[in-house]
Every structure is written in structure tokens, then in C-alpha cells.
Symmetry: D2
Subunit: 330 residues, 4 copies
């Protein structure tokens, strides 16, 4: 791998980097117009990077063809923002195939989780990252997501891998704040070879107080400007303002619980998409087949939560609230 | 799907159907000669079908190219035995891509787990199977493996899917004997639309007593004749003989614990492969990269356990024990 | 401890040893009349021992005073059957207090789980059993119940403890049939220092085929004669009859799922108690406060399942079916 | 219960309330002199309350007699600080017995977890709290500790219970920062009927930023003044100072990982106790029998970490560092 990878990453990756949702059309294909609209909305919102094909992108549900279409669309519409590509799969050999395709398409970084499906352990996970990084055409960003892969990335291992140039950054979606605090300390003591991102939507202020380099909030699809305001306030030490934005965004986050009959992406990503439809960014809240759709009641509730947030946000930003989009069945 | 699928499956699938390991050569590629040797050994042992690309086949570690090579080799060397192909992936869209390739290669059945990586529930799992079966060129065999996918296939759902022609059989590797007993009862009450297989190595006698149609034991790679003897004894009601074989095979199964520093396939499938190397069926016990290899001590222990079993088996079968193969480092 | 403990246990403990439910009266106190009735019913059914204060006895819900009342009633009504007393608590010091009270009350054996609440490991569990056994006035029976204590008793450790005279028997409610099969083998190889019991209701035939010494089925409260028939058939090698009883008892076991709005003992033990009320053994199906009661619909369903089983059982035994008891709200 | 409970709690409970460890003497009894020394050290450190018999107090390991001795000693040495008493047990009936004894001994509040051992659900947990509160002589503080009891207290339920006067506060040791952020919002929207405490040691600054009322850090046994400095800085909005203290305390927290061969309280509480012995507060680092002791290497490592922290703390506080106590084997 190029010797300047870590430096490139250190220079580039920071700030608010939302994990993009993947919109779908009536045929179940990737809705490229909607995806371009999303990229434009995020760039307008002031975000600092685009995280493609993550859990918020329903990556586990997408065929390789769908992944390629989504990634190519995002790269093309990225307006110069760094694009990180989820290379999410069960093993090193499979991840590498995704990383190679992502490089061909033009992504800048390969996002890699621990192996899953088979039982694993820290020694195996370390071997997995080293094997991939030796062969990957892209710098590797580790993705710590125990809820999906059922193992946790060890903090000591992450720093060791970073010192050896194997990984350049980590996105921590573990929810284990103690482990992350310890990782931040170990990384600093090692000379900060690693960029540390958090995947949370609702404790971003707290994570920035602790010292993370950036945030990857799924809700940032819906409220990019809000997270940028939160991030900027924290960066200038204005914690009262940061908390105000976080508190309001946390309340808005109830959109992911609107349909109690659904679980996983059908519920949470469906919630994001319905809110984005209400804001006029997407044309529908479909999730990838064969997931079940949000109920009419859930969409009504999401619309209400969205209208309320949009009005508040406009007030904070001193802008007129955008007209609400009339959503209808599709 | 063809209207006679269930019937075809009911006619064909029964007995001992080992989940084949995938051998590797020094370059990390699928060792097709070894795989042909394995198929021959299994046919000689009297097995009733070949289960390709399951957990014992390290399916999660294999790239699509590796999967295709392994499956094509097995189909070609199957000597008329039914070939079931693991179409293991995170979502319906991805599973379908595997099923289509498996059909092109010539497999007879598509093995499908619950979706994984994303959180799921029984309603989503049911939608997953229905979506796949509507589009699959091959009859679907459900694979219940909570240790890998972190959800359990509901017994009532399985019978419902079978009655609707969505699935034709289930391989139960859940280890939940109570649920399986209940499934066997519900299936019988529904007119037996489902073939029920167990994935256990060590309670096959008990499972046959309970009424399963067939068994898919990983250890059957190493001891096909032993499992066929066990199966035949149980089928004729000779439980004392069935228990004798099972007890001895259970003792032999300690090969999967020989290396305490490994976990998962590196440990268990490595154990199978080392024993098969000792028996002369494979030329090495490599597991798929980047898994760590068995220690020298572990291989020595496996050799000892294998020699002991082989001698006992030969005595039972009234045959001369095969000479032990001298294994060496590779 | 007395040097002949293991021998005493080996001599005495075998067969069907139901884990007794604890009946309650309208004030929420232990219903001693009902408990005596239950003991009489079990003795009439031909069981070989009484397992008091286990999970089926709602032991976790009972105050010390309730535990003592229940145990004293059972000891008094035991008609010479061995009485095992659950000494279920979070730690060695607390278990020992229960064992001492149980000895004073007249129980014959102390049932002990792994420690729980605090995180533990095999070395700590082993220290726990050794510390208790050194001080306990009663022989110790290990109770392996991961669903409640969230750790598994290691098979090698169990045999080691038995060889050292620390434990005399184990009740395995882990549901891990592979581990139990291995335990049975290791125990036999060590000279059978351990009696092995299973806690299952629905694979008793299979467990007896594997070689367990006895069975502790919660459903044995409701159908003692059925389990004795099953046990006797297995002991004489009449597996067809054993399977016939097990299959019918497994179907009857659906009483534990009758109320889908409940979980745990409220659902399962409530189900046993409602069936026992229907059979006239208990006067109510109350579970320990503050658990929620079975719905009217659930009780109706349980009554139906009970009537059906009772009729079948009477036919098998060549006896007239007992009149069904009219159950009413209380 | 008295109608002014919530108000009393609201008035009193705030700030730093360490969960006291329970020291032991060479006979395995509660070391009352050491416990008095600890209470004095905490009062000198400026803490705002004493949390007795929590997980840090090894409550699960203590017999009732040990619990009573420890609690009586703490109440007597509390110097007017509020005393909260852990009433940790498997069920409502058992918890109530502890709460009654705690009231007799003079504690001010009863700490209550969800029921454990038996499977439970939110409806059962709610019934559990309501049943206890109706009968408890002490106000109830809910304790959310999934790692020990294997269920999570639902945020909506907690606010509902607080509005009904059932609970007055909650200590959240779940580590689920998202759920806690949501709880803080729901509680505020309901008029703040609930005091919210966090059990973390290492993200106290972040939790105070989010709006918790107080903190219950186990490491506060060892560094009470440090947590009081952190708390005071946060209360006056001096986040830079709060972070400085938290970062240093987080580094010190590595004492809980010093012995890799231990788990649970033997490791973590042993670590606290060894550090307190080094600081001269306790005379030994024994944990409750039959837990295994820290290794000599681990104690040496803890001493080093302690000396380093003590020196740093003294510098921050402008005080001379206390002489290090020479620890020796016991």
C-alpha cells in the first residue's frame, strides 16, 4: 500500500460524514435520481465526507450490482467530498473483492468490519485486517459494529494496526463509550495514528467532548445542517449550543421507533427515508426488498416529528422553514 | 417454481448427507483434486447426498469464484448423488444471485439461512424465504443455524412455508432439541410436507429416534461409513448398534477441540481436515486464508485420535485397517 | 463431608425425579395442602424422588420463609422418597445458608447452580462448588441451567469435581445435548463417579438412549405416571413404547405456550399448574406474586390439552379417565 | 409510602455517590474498621452520598449477615450523608425482606434491580417495582444493570413509575448512552419526577453534559476527591477542567484490568481494593470468598498506576502527595 495512506487520511477525514441511505424505486432498483438529490442535500448541509454502503445504506440487503450502482452514483455526485465505501462481507476474500470494485468505481477508502457468520476472536480479526490491507487498493477504515457482526474490535488491537499502517481510521458503532474513551487515550499515547469516528446519532456532543475526530450519524441524512451546527459548536468549545442541537436532534431521532411492528433497517432506515421524503430530498421511503414497509400510521407520526424539527431548525438557522412535502402512498 | 418440487425432494433427500469441507492448496486456492478425492471417499462410504458450501465448507470465507470452483467440482464428482448448494449470504437479493449461479453449475437444491448482519424477526425471515423461493431456479432447503446468523427459524413458520411449497426441507443445526421435536410433530400433523435433517455429529442416534429424515454431520467427511452404519442400524430399529457407533463417533469428535488456541472453523474444520489427511483423503489440512493453522501438537493429537478410531472402525466392519498416512508440515 | 456420600447418592438417585411446583393460596402464601396433594399424586404416579425448590418451584420468587415452608411440607409428605432441595442463590455464602436450613428441615441433597449476578468463569465456578461442599451438611448436586445463571458448567470440571467427592450428581438443563453426550462419555471413562440427570421434558427418550441415569421433567408434576411409563420402557429397551409416550407428552407440553402474553414461570409454570388444577391435584394455578396470571383463554386452552392427554393416558394404562375438574376463576 | 418521598429524594440525592466496596478480614468476615476508614475517606473527599451493597460492594457474594454488618457500619459512619442500600435479589418477595432490614438498620433508600434468574419482560418488571414500592418502608431507587440481571429497564416505564411515585431515582449502569439520553429527555418532558444517576467511571463528564443529576462511580472509592473535582467543574460549566479530570481518572481505571486471569469482581473490585490499600484506606485487597485473589504481578501494576495517579492528583489539588503505603502479602 502507498506509504502516505495514513497521512492522506489524517489530512482528509474529519467532521460530519453521514452514512448515506440507499433509495429505491418502484421496481426495487437503486433510485439514482434520489441518491443524487441526497448527495446534493448533504453537500448543501455542509458535511465533510460521504460514507457509502454502510448499515444505514442497507448494505447487507444489496446485491453486488446494487452496491456498484449506488457507489458509482455517490462518487459521481460527491462534489469533491471524500467517499468511503462499505466493503461489508463475511470474510477477507469477499471483502477484498468489494474493495477492488470500490477502487475501480472511484471511492477513496474501504470500510471493513470484523469477519462474521463464523465464530471469531481477536487474533483472527487482526489477521483479517492485515490480510486485506496487504492486498487492498484503498486505505482501510475499520468499522466496529457488534450489533451486526457479533464481535467487538479490541482497542489495543486497533492502535497496533494503526501503528503498522494497516488501518487509518475506525468508525465506532459499538455503543461502548468506556471502550471508546480508552481507545482515544491509547491512540493519543501512541501518537494519534488513528482517526476515531463515532456512529452515534444521540450522544455526538458527548463524543466530541471526549475527543473523537468525527461523527457518522445516520440521522445526518435527514438533518445534515443540524449535525454540522452541532459539530462546529463543539469544535469552538460552545458546549451549550452543542447540547441544544444534540437534545433537539435526539428528540427527532424518535422517527426510528415510529413503527413498532418493524425491526432493524425496515424500521430505522425506513424512518430516515420517510423524514427525507417529507423534507423533499427523496421521492419515497421504500427500503430494499423483501423488507416490509412502514405503516401509514408510522409515516404520519414521522411526518409530524419532521415538521416540528424542520420548523425548529429554521428558527435556529434564521431561515424560512421549507414547505412540507405532501407525502402520499406509492 | 415447478409444482413437483416438494415431491422431488421428498423422493430424493434422506439418509446421510455430509456437509463437505473445502480443501485448499498451497496458494490458497480450492484444491480440486482433494475435493474430488473427498467426493469419491464419501460415495464409497455409502452416503446419500452431498451438502456443498455449508458452514463445514467454510462458505463464509470463500469468494464467489472459490464457491463456484468448489461447487462445480462437487457436481462433477457427485456420481449421481443429490447435490445441495449453500447459498449463504446476508440478504434475499444476494442469496438469489448465489442460487442462480448454483443452478447454472448444476446443483439440485439451494440451501438458505435466515438473513443476517441486520436485525431481523420471524415476519422478515418469512418474507425472505418467500421472496427467494418465488425467484429461485432451485428448490429451497432452509438452514437453521443460530450460532452463525443469530436468529432461530420458528417451527410454525417452517411448516407454514412447507405447506405453501416455499421450502422442501430444513437442516436444523440449532441444537435446540425441544424445538426440533416439536417441529417433527407439527410437520407430521400437517401431512409431512417437510423433510427434517439434523446437523449434529454427536446425537444422531437420538435424532433418528425422534424421527428425523436424515443427518448432515460434519464428521461424516471423516467417517462416512461410520455414519452410514449408524443410520442403517437406527433405520432397522437396532438401537444398541446405533448407540455403539454414535458413542464411538462422539469420542472421535474430540478432534474438533484439539487446538485450544483456535476458534470456529480454524479449530473444528481444521480438525476434520487433519483427520482426513491422516486417512489419506486429503493432502493437507489447510483452512481458508487468513485463518490461523492448527499447531503441531494439535495435529499430533488428531492423528492419535484418528488412528484409534480407524482401528476400531476396521474391527467393526471386519476390514483391515488402512495404513495411516504419515502427515508432515506443509 | 461423610466419605460415603457419593455411594449413598449412587445408590439412591435414579429414575424420574420431578421438580415440584410450589402452589399458592389466595393470600400469596405457600398452599401447603395443595403441596401435600401434589406429593401424594407423585408418589402414586411411581416417581423415584422429589426435586424441591428448583426453577419449576419458582425458587427465585420465594422468600426464605416461603422456601422453608415449601421444603418442610415436601419432606413431611415425601413417603420415603429422596428429597433434593434447591439452594439457589447468587453466591457460595448464600447457598451455604440455604443448605444448612435445608439440612435442618430434613432434605437429603443440596442442589447448587453456578454463581450468578456477577460475571464468572470456570475457575470461579469450580472454587464455588469446592467451598460449598467443604462446608455443606448435605451432598451437593450440581444444577446446570445457563438460561437462568448465564454460564455453562464445563464437562471436564464436573467429572473432576465428582472424582474429588465434591459433587455427586448433575442435573443438566442446559439443552446442550452435545455437551451432555460428552459428559456421559467422560464420566463413564472416569469410573462413573457422577449421576447424570436431564432436565428436559421433551427428549427424555433420547436422553435415556444416550445413557442418563435419571430425568427431572417439570411436566412430570402433571403427568408422573406418563414419565414413569416412558422411563420403564426405555430401561427395558422398548424404545418404540418410550417414543410413543414421549411423543404424546411432547404434544401435551404445549400447555407451557398457552398464554403468549406471558414469559418465564408465569407462562410455563402457570401452564403446569392450570393442568394440575384440571386434573384435581391443585386447587388453583396461581404463581408467586407479583407475577401476572394466565388469561382465561389460556386456561381454556390448557384445559382442552389436559383433557385430551388424560383420555389418552387412561387408554394406554387401561384405566378409566378421571373426571375433569371444573375450573373456575379465583 | 409517605407522600413526600419523591420530594425528599429530589432534595437530597445529587452529586457524587460512590458505590462502596466491602472490605474483608483474614477470616473472611466484613472488615468493619476498614469500612469505617473508607467512609471517612469518602466524607473527606467531599462526596454527596453513600451507595451501600451495590455491585462494587460484591453484594451478590454476601450472606444476609454480611450485608447487615456492612450496612450497619456504613450507616453508623455516614456522617450525615444519605445512605442508599442495595436490596439486590432475584424477586420482589426477597427484595422486600432486604428493604425491611435496611430500614431497620437506618438506610435512607432501597436500591432495586429488575428481577433475575427467571426470564422476565417489561410488564413483569413494572409489576415487580410496583409490588415492592407498595410495601417498602424506604423510597425505591431503580438500578439498571443488564450485565448482571440480563434485562434492561425501559425508559418509558421508568418515567411512568416515577410519575406514579413508585421510584424516585434510577442508577443507570447499562452503558446504553442512547437510552439514557432519551430517558433524560422524557423525564424532563414529564416534569422531572426522576433523579437520573449514571454508574460509569469513565464518561462522567459526558454524562453530566447530557444532564444526569449525579454519578455513582466505583472508582470513586479510590479517588473521591477526583470525582468531586470533576463534578464541580462540570456543574460550573468548566468542561475543559472536567475533561482533564475524567481523562486522568480513565487512565487510572486500568487498575481494573491488571489481572488478566480473573473476571468480574475478583478482577475489578480487587483492583479498586488494591489501590485503596496502596493509598492507606484499606488494610487488604481481599475480595469475598471463594473468589480467587489478585496475582502479585497485578498488585505491583496497580501500585504503580496508583502512585502515578496520586502524584498527579496532589499536583492538581496543590497538596503534598501522600506517602505510598508499602503493601505486603497477607
Amino acid at each position: 500500500m502507498p506509504s502516505d495512506w495514513n497521512k492522506r487520511v489524517t489530512d482528509l477525514l474529519t467532521g460530519v460524514i453521514p452514512p448515506l441511505v440507499t433509495p429505491f424505486d418502484a421496481n426495487g432498483d437503486v433510485h439514482t435520481d434520489d441518491l443524487r438529490s441526497l448527495c446534493g442535500s448533504l453537500a448543501d448541509g455542509g458535511v465533510h465526507g460521504l460514507f457509502a454502503l454502510g448499515s444505514s445504506g442497507e448494505v447487507g440487503f444489496l446485491s453486488d450490482a446494487m452496491r456498484d450502482t449506488a457507489l458509482a452514483t455517490i462518487v459521481e455526485a460527491s462534489q469533491g467530498l471524500p467517499v468511503l465505501a462499505g466493503c461489508i462481507d463475511t470474510s477477507a476474500t469477499r471483502v477484498l473483492d468489494h474493495a477492488r470494485r470500490a477502487a475501480d468505481i472511484g471511492a477513496g477508502y474501504a470500510i471493513v468490519t470484523a469477519p462474521f457468520y463464523a465464530k471469531t476472536c481477536t487474533a483472527d480479526i487482526e489477521a483479517h485486517f492485515r490480510w486485506i490491507a496487504e492486498r487492498s487498493p484503498l486505505p482501510v477504515v475499520a468499522y466496529d459494529i457488534p450489533v451486526a457482526v457479533h464481535s467487538k474490535l479490541d482497542s489495543d488491537m486497533l492502535v497496533r494496526l494503526a501503528l503498522d499502517g494497516v488501518i487509518a481510521a475506525v468508525k465506532d458503532s459499538s455503543g461502548d463509550q468506556g471502550a471508546m474513551r480508552r481507545l482515544i487515550r491509547l491512540n493519543k499515547a501512541a501518537g494519534s495514528p488513528l482517526r476515531v469516528f463515532t456512529g452515534t446519532e444521540v450522544v455526538v456532543d458527548a463524543n466530541l467532548l471526549m475527543g473523537v475526530d468525527g461523527v457518522v450519524p445516520g440521522l445526518g441524512n435527514v438533518a445534515p445542517a443540524g449535525y454540522v451546527q452541532l459539530y462546529d459548536a463543539a469544535r469552538r468549545g460552545d458546549w451549550a449550543t452543542a447540547v441544544t442541537w444534540q437534545d433537539r436532534l435526539e428528540e427527532f431521532f424518535d422517527i426510528v421507533y415510529a413503527d413498532p411492528d418493524l425491526v432493524g433497517p425496515a424500521q430505522a432506515i425506513g424512518g430516515f427515508k420517510a423524514a427525507m421524503t417529507r423534507r423533499g430530498v427523496l421521492s419515497s421511503w421504500r427500503t430494499c426488498a423483501p423488507q416490509r414497509p412502514l405503516s401509514t400510521e408510522a409515516v404520519a407520526k414521522i411526518n409530524e416529528l419532521t415538521d416540528s424539527y424542520v420548523t425548529w431548525e429554521a428558527g435556529q438557522l434564521g431561515r424560512p422553514a421549507t414547505a412540507h412535502i405532501e407525502t402520499k402512498e406509492f
